[in-house]
Structures are given as structure tokens and as C-alpha cells.
């Protein structure tokens, strides 16, 4: 199971990558896609919408189940990845690159609280 060193993680199996001072990119981990199985459907939020911490951000469905991705903190949707809507199998093939879901803009200081580093996340999945 891949757990890249340069990402942060949530205990809900999301990865978070800092792309600028105020924006993070977000997706689900290799472990999460493996647990889900073949992803067949992804529903993304609208660009520009406001989300509160723990809101449902993304719906991810596999052949066997419906899953949700929650907002790790409050912010605004800056961008979404249409490619993963058009080809949900990207989530299985490339969970950390091709299958990012959204870019989320936050205000103020980067809300690190509750996020895990690669080692801590690795431990969580073992």
C-alpha cells in the first residue's frame, strides 16, 4: 500500500497536499481505494461553493458500496477534477495523482489539527 511521504492524511483515509499558502488538494488514499474496490461513480461539489468542516465533500461509489469524503476543514471549493468524474477508475489507478478530487481554499493559518503524517497514517492502516 502506497503512503507518499510528502502528503498529510486524515483518519477518514483522505490525503491532503498543500499546493499554495492558502489552498490544499484532496483525494482518497491507496488504502481507501483498495477497500472500496472498483470505483464507478464520483460526484464533486461545485466550484465556488462554501463547505464547513465535516460536510460531505465528495460522493464515491464502487460496485459494492457508497462512500463519502468529508471536508477536513472549513473553506471554499477552488477547483474540481472533472477527469475523475469522467473516468472514476482513475481513483483505483492513480489515487494520489490523476484522481485528486478538489482544491480547497482555507482562511488564515493552515489547520493542521487532527491531520496525520505518512508514518502515523501508515500505522493507522496496519
Amino acid at each position: 500500500m502506497q503512503v507518499p511521504e510528502d502528503l498529510l492524511y486524515t483518519d477518514e483515509h483522505e490525503w491532503i497536499k498543500r499546493v499554495s499558502d492558502t489552498v490544499v488538494r484532496l483525494g482518497i488514499t491507496d488504502y481507501a481505494q483498495d477497500q472500496l474496490g472498483d470505483v464507478v461513480y464520483v460526484e464533486l461539489p461545485e466550484v465556488g461553493s462554501d463547505v464547513a468542516k465535516d460536510d460531505i465533500l465528495v460522493e464515491v461509489e464502487s460496485t459494492k458500496s457508497v462512500g463519502e469524503v468529508y471536508a477536513p476543514f472549513t473553506g471554499k471549493i477552488k477547483a474540481v477534477n472533472q477527469a475523475v468524474v469522467d473516468a472514476p477508475e482513475l481513483v483505483n489507478q492513480s489515487p494520489y495523482d490523476g484522481a485528486w478530487f478538489v482544491e480547497l481554499e482555507f482562511e488564515g493559518v493552515f489547520p493542521l489539527e487532527g491531520l496525520l503524517d505518512a508514518a502515523a497514517y501508515q500505522e493507522l492502516t496496519e
Binding site: G37, D38, V40, Y41, T63, V66
Partner: protein, 347 residues
């Protein structure tokens, strides 16, 4: 938890297991969709050891089959199989099952896994029935797909005809087969003694057959428009409502006949129908359905890997017409869909 004698083989091949009615069975090895496609394009093998199966003989066997089952064995002959149902007095479906009429006085009855005990008990209460439970001593596998028949012939030297029973020898033991399945493809099901099962499956895999989990079996049966007991049909639904009237012979006497005759005369008020999604979204069991004049609820739904769109089965009241536009309630959204006649995919 019950385990198939093939459990170690599955684990060697990287199976993910899940509880299927008290049986720990493979749900997938790697990808459900890849396994689904293997069955549509070549051949796949499913361990279905959890399925019910018992041998029925004795002088009371035929009268019991006639009395308890909705279909009529007079429509077939020894050496053939029949899809049929056991009903309650209200015409509700206690189980849908297959009978293998192996020879003049030997019947195999194959209920759903969850209903094995109940169906076997119903037959054991009928006079003159001799019953042998086959589940403890055998493994059952399904070999399905356009290349399945060739795989049967390579490994067993014989293949069952469509809806026919057949026998073969493997590793010095007799194996029993039938040209049946649950995928909409040619192929068959094989019953083998537990000791030889690993060797048989290994031989089939070596000839290029793909191991498939029960996840793919479910998407395949849905694409083929085949109902699942416990999801699409149960004691509260009748064969007429479920579109299974072809497996009901009202011209013979059986438990539930009277209720069905009454329902047939008065007409059904709801019908199990197929639909294809026109908008984005995956229909799931329990989602609501809205039509111009009524509505209902989804009983099975998923993505069709072949059509690459959502498909499902739903009870709709009043029964809609083919081609009618409907809406499926997917969480907070109403998504358009169209009523179609299953199967969604036909070879």
C-alpha cells in the same frame, strides 16, 4: 462461520472474503469489473459452495415436487433442469430454486443458500421422501462465459447442454453437472466431492479460466435481469408481480396456486420492472422511484459494466409501460431513467 473447502485456494489467489448468509466466501480477487468482463468475454469460475443442494428420492419425491413447486416437471423430462419456486399460501415466494431432474427417480433440489434448511425441511415433511443433504460432502462451482463449454471439455472431457444435466469423472470420482448459471452466459454448474475440488479448480484456472468472486456474480445476474431472492423477490412478492409467471403452471395443484389464480384474474397492482439510468448516478436497493402516475422502490441496482451506465430493478405501482420516463431518487437528486425490458445485456 461456514467456510468452503476451497477457502485456502481462494486465499492463495488473493481473495477478499465477505459473509454471505453465514458463509465466508470470496467477494472479489482483484477487480469486480475485470472479473465481470472475463465472464462476458471468455470464462470465469465462481465458488458457490454456499448454495443449497440436496438429493431427493423415494416414492413420494414426485408428488412432493408437484405439490410444493410452482412449475410443472411434466414440462420437461429426465436429464433436464427447471427453474421453479416454492410459495406460501398467499402466493409469496418462499424461495426460487432449480431442480436437476437427473434420472427418472433422482431429483436434485438447489435452493438459495439462505433457504437451504427451510426448503429441505419442507420436503422432509412430505410422505415418502428420501433426502440426502449434499452440502456437507460436496463443493459447487459455476463455470460461466463464452469459453466455458470448451473449458468443461478440456478438463472434464464433457460439457452439459443448456439446461441439461450431465456426469463426468475427475480424479477417480464422479462429478455432476448441469447447464445452468446466474450470469446470462453459457456454461454450467459442477458438483464435486470436497477432496477433489481444489484439484479441479486448479486445473480449470490453468486452462485460463478467471477466478471470480460473488461481487461479479451479482453484477452479472443484474445485467442479465435475473432476480435475487431477498432483494427483488421474497415472501411478500408473488411470481406474477415479479414477472416470473413463466415458472408457474397454474394447471396443476400446488401450494399458493389459489392465491395466484385470484391475483391473475384480478390483475397485479405492481410489477418488477427494469430501468436504465439516463442521468448520472448509481441506483441502489431502497431508493425511491417516481412515475407519472405513481412510484415504487428499487430492489437491485448497480453500474452495468458492459453498458457503462446505471441499471436496476424496481417494483412500480401501477405497472409502467416499456419506454416510460421515470425518476430515481438518488439521495437528494431526482435522476431520469427509462423503463426497459430486462435483460439489460443479452449475448
Amino acid at each position: 462461520m461456514n467456510r468452503s473447502p476451497l477457502h485456502d485456494l481462494h486465499a492463495r489467489h488473493g481473495a477478499r472474503f465477505v459473509d454471505f448468509g453465514g458463509w465466508e466466501m470470496p467477494v472479489r480477487y482483484a477487480s469486480v469489473i475485470a472479473e465481470h468482463r472475463a465472464v462476458r468475454s471468455s470464462a470465469g469460475l465462481f465458488d458457490v459452495t454456499h448454495l443449497g443442494r440436496f438429493r431427493l428420492g423415494g416414492s413420494g419425491a414426485r408428488p412432493a415436487l408437484d405439490r410444493l413447486l410452482s412449475n410443472d416437471l411434466a414440462r420437461i423430462e429426465p436429464g433436464k433442469t427447471q427453474y421453479t419456486m416454492i410459495l406460501n399460501d398467499e402466493g409469496g415466494i418462499v424461495d426460487d430454486l432449480i431442480v436437476w431432474w437427473r434420472s427418472a427417480d433422482e431429483y436434485w433440489v438447489l435452493p438459495n443458500a439462505a433457504n437451504h434448511d427451510r426448503v429441505m425441511a419442507a420436503f422432509s415433511e412430505e410422505p415418502g421422501c428420501e433426502i440426502e443433504d449434499l452440502r456437507p460432502t460436496t463443493v459447487m462451482v459455476a463455470l460461466q462465459g463464452p469459453e466455458a463449454i470448451a473449458a468443461f471439455e478440456r478438463v472434464l472431457g464433457a460439457a452439459p447442454g443448456r439446461f441439461r444435466t450431465a456426469d463426468a469423472m475427475f480424479a477417480g470420482h464422479e462429478v455432476q453437472m448441469a447447464g445452468t448459471g446466474y450470469t446470462g452466459e453459457r456454461g454450467g454448474e459442477i458438483c464435486i466431492n470436497t477432496e477433489s475440488a481444489d484439484q479441479l479448480v486448479t486445473a480449470l484456472v490453468e486452462t485460463g479460466v478467471t477466478l471470480c468472486g460473488l461481487g461479479a456474480r451479482d453484477t452479472l445476474r443484474l445485467e442479465a435481469g435475473l432476480p435475487l431472492w431477498g432483494a427483488d423477490i421474497d415472501e411478500t412478492t408473488t411470481p406474477l408481480e415479479a414477472g416470473l409467471g413463466y415458472a408457474v403452471a397454474l394447471d396443476h395443484d400446488f401450494v399458493g396456486r389459489e392465491a395466484l389464480a385470484t391475483q391473475k384474474a384480478s390483475g397485479i397492482t405492481r410489477r418488477l420492472v427494469g430501468f436504465v439510468m439516463e442521468g448520472r448516478g448509481v441506483p441502489r436497493h431502497g431508493y425511491g422511484v417516481r412515475t407519472a402516475s405513481g412510484g415504487g422502490s428499487v430492489t437491485s441496482g448497480n453500474i452495468s459494466p458492459v453498458l457503462d451506465t446505471g441499471v436496476g430493478l424496481a417494483y412500480v405501482s401501477p405497472p409502467p409501460r416499456l419506454g416510460e420516463a421515470i425518476e430515481v431518487e438518488i439521495r437528494t437528486r431526482m435522476v431520469p431513467a427509462t423503463i426497459v425490458k430486462p435483460p439489460f445485456y443479452k449475448r
